[in-house]
Amino acid sequence: MISLTVYRHALRLYPAQHRERFADEMTTVFRGLLADAATKGRMAQSRLCVREMGGVFAGALGEHWRKLAGDNIWLLFATRRFTMRTEFRFPKMTAVLMTIILAGVVLAIQRGEAIQHSLIDANPPVGPIHPVHSTLLPGVIIGLASFYVAGLIGWAILFAMHRSGVHRLDETSAGPKF
């Protein structure tokens, strides 16, 4: 039974907790469905395998997503608005990473300028050369700085909302979505 073996392997895509809870049951049900399909011919078997593999992949993805984002992450999509939940994690790491990236870019620019200066010293100009001013680098710096400031402002708003306790109001009306 190749398809049963493949199915068992595919179940490994699920988070361990879900696998321990349901893998045996799912395998038993799949075995039953395979036996049914075997009586209906190869086409039915193929259709079953395609449907089941799709179901397992989608299901595993959904379970991992739920594990990462929490059960109530659907609220963000269901209401099409920002809903503060207790499971929401403030993007502290984003601010830190943006700072590191900005520092890296500034450092790279400084290093580039130092190299440029050293090249000018090593090869002095022989004639009247008009320096070409690059407009790309200042644009990149301004763009990054703008993103950084926008991110920082967003984070500050979220932090202020969290401190105000507004997210607790949501707990009174939150319900499961099936």
């Binding site: 349901f22 049951e25 469905l33 449907r51 379970e63 059960d71 009306s173 319900g175 499961p176 099936f178």
Partner: protein, 109 residues
């Protein structure tokens, strides 16, 4: 209630468990039969829904005398039955309203 309306697969799973406890294979077959073959759930979809229903205590494991590890039956809890009834009432109201509107339109045509 915020979690209504239910999706069709979940509604059919709950309806399947409304009469008596069933295990996974039996639920799949019953759902297929109830929907005249229109809704065919995969095991991934079924057990995703069962997991959510178990977590929300709409259903619970039903321990039969001879329950093997791969053959667990489930049944509705009072909470699950209440929510199913609410959903059915909501659908009845919607159907009544739709019939009224269609009748008015046909009468005026």
């Amino acid at each position: 209630m915020e979690f209504l309306p239910l999706t069709e697969p979940v509604l059919l799973i709950l309806l399947s468990l409304a009469a008596h406890p069933r295990h996974g294979y039996s639920i799949l077959k019953d759902v297929e039969q109830m929907s005249d073959g229109r809704v065919t759930l995969s095991t991934g979809t079924l057990y995703g829904a069962l997991r959510r229903l178990l977590d929300e205590e709409w259903i619970e494991p039903f321990h039969e005398a001879e329950t093997s590890r791969g053959r667990q039956a489930y049944r509705l809890t009072p909470k699950g039955r209440r929510n199913l009834q609410l959903e059915v009432s909501r659908m009845k109201h919607l159907t009544r309203l739709a019939n009224l509107r269609i009748a008015v339109k046909e009468a005026s045509a």
